[in-house]
Amino acid sequence: MSAWDDSTDVVLIGLGACGAVAAHVLTAAGIRVTALEAGPRLRADQMRSDEIRNDVDGWLSWPKAAGEVPTLRMDEGEAAPSWWPTLMVNAVGGTAVHYPGASFRLLPWNFRSRSATVARYGEAAIPDDATLADWPLDYDELEPYYDRVEYAIGVAGAAPAPFAGERHRGYPMPPLRRSGWNELTDDAARRLGWHPYPTPAALNSEPYNGHPACTYCGHCSGNGCYLQAKGSPDGNLIPLAEATGRLRVVTDARATRIETDEHGRVTGVHYLHDGTERFAPARAVLLATFTYENSRLLLLSGSPAHPGGIGNAHGQLGAHFVPHVTPSVLGLFPGRRLNLHTGTWAQGTVVDDWNGDNFDHTGLGFLGGGALMSANEVRPIAASQQTPPTVPRWGGEWKAWLARNAASVGSAVAQFESLTYAGNRLDLDPVAKDRHGVPRIRITYRPGENERRGVAFLRERLTEWLVAAGATETWTNDAVHIEGRHVYGGTRIGRDPRDSVLDPFGFVHDAQNLAVLGGSTFVTSGGHNPTLTAQALAWRTAEELLRRWPALRQQS
């Protein structure tokens, strides 16, 4: 065993959006952290504005997706098809390297949607098979952590936002520049009586943290920032943690199993590095991979003390899995140049009037809602596919339509707060394996009537919005689209071990020196992009680890 192994206090699995937050908090407090990151270190000079490389080839996500993409089936008893595109990235900085940086706080209602629904609409409003629960914390408890993350990574936004919870101070930066399209959709929403505001974004609207302002290149999602103007942790939190001298980053280190002793306590992590199996002993372990991989590694780490996986004493591991379902609508604005090839996706207009319980649901047949968003960042190959169903998809007529209209198509999308259901979960696929012969994760997910109605309702609002902005023709896809990047649950937090894997602070109920970070800890999906909430929870978990540290240290 090498010397540095003995000098480590905490082993962190995965150095992405959430792991980096924990590394920053712990190392600043004097804790020595070893981060096992399955991917490489990337550099800003590797980032290019090339749609084929970034979006078609997915050079950032493909190395991960190629062998490990989860399988998906609708129902138990079905074989799971083996291809479901996702955008997980193995790299220092993780999937946040190529996220477009939308950084929302959830609504206060999201944290108590069960009790608030029962109070306003009655118990019967909740579908029978839904496993809807209140979070074991409320918005006010998370507010200081939202704030810390916003200032640490740099979030540009306008406060106060309509319908948002109280915040004790504003954003560290003003919102991103408003594009013509942003203003057009903003005006249209106001004319409808709605309350639009600029997308809060972890992108520098002005120089911040020693990095320059965003130049609105239009290749933000699917790509890292060539300028480090994005608040991805590879540019700020990780260098900060490394500067303390207490963070050791091991790249190309793939965790294979979390080891526990006969009492069920975690003792360290097995990982593959340079083709050999190694072991990193730890007094505490933080598991901070993607939602799919958090459940997967816990399921693969069973032992006599933890039969069926760590945290699975009550069959809760992998349960309460839910993705966002995301209706979108396109519109034609004849004769107008929308210039959506300029700017970034997080340069957008948001409407929360149809999110959470911000509107009366009586008689609608669904709960919750979602943020409506319109954004920039449409690249040319993508633009060539935005034709209405009334137009041929190839040939001379298609070309003529593109020549006339390609610059005049705008779209809007919503993120519906889909419910968790008893039948939907993650488990190990009995057939599909990754390149190391390890089972891949299997998704069993079927949206319910609640989702179909909610999506149809939001699709109508999106259509209204585009028409108010001047669209003469709108079109959409009727399918319930599952967003494989916005995924929640599998290791949810809760007070009762019988319906959760983690305690309210994110520590495994029956392995208290192991905590889990990320979207897998969410109790409900919420109606906004999740990353900021996952990071705020990670900060809170890291602080709790510091509070528990004297006791943990004595036990190991």
Partner: protein, 177 residues
């Protein structure tokens, strides 16, 4: 039916592919067709050419299309009249669209259409979009890294300024990370 030497066969398939691409993206008043815009080269060099994962699928799909043309019109696809070619492609498209959603994208027709769009509208460093034919069709200027507030306004024409690109991708130096 397969006929002639392997070399003749692969030439015939390349002709079928060229003809198919030129019907998906025809030369017309709006600008160059697929072959003139480098789309055939793009598809061959990345997907359909020897040694690529999808070469076999391309060969089978093109063979099927050629057979279909022979049965219907007594001549191979490439030698068929444009209207007959379009009708055959419309048939393949209808078959693809009738598939369950999970299988549609991997059908032969949808695969070629997807690759054709990539070759037409992707960055020319990959061999397609020759002469910026695809970008001109869309009114897309270039992949520059800075857009000004003025260029982000509505109805402003953003003219190309950055179309002289190296033939192979090169990293842009922005200093150490």
């Amino acid at each position: 039916m397969t006929e002639g030497s392997p070399r003749r066969r692969s030439e015939r398939l390349a002709q079928t592919l060229a003809a198919m691409l030129d019907r998906l993206i025809p030369a017309d008043a709006q600008g160059p067709g697929a072959v003139d815009a480098g789309v055939l080269d793009y598809v061959m060099s990345r997907y359909a050419g020897p040694g690529h994962d999808e070469a076999g699928r391309y060969a089978r799909g093109l063979e099927h299309l050629d057979d279909l043309a022979r049965r219907r019109h007594g001549t191979g696809f490439a030698a068929s009249p444009a209207a007959a070619q379009d009708a055959l492609l419309a048939e393949l498209e209808a078959e693809a669209l009738a598939l369950p959603e999970a299988q549609r994208a991997s059908s032969f027709f949808e695969t070629v259409l997807r690759h054709a769009r990539e070759g037409m509208f992707g960055d020319p460093v990959h061999g397609g979009n020759r002469g910026y034919a695809g970008w001109d069709l869309l009114g897309y200027p270039d992949a520059r890294r800075v857009w000004t507030a003025r260029e982000q306004a509505l109805d402003v024409v953003t003219r190309p300024v950055l179309r002289l690109r190296p033939a192979t991708p090169e990293p842009t130096e922005v200093g150490p990370r």
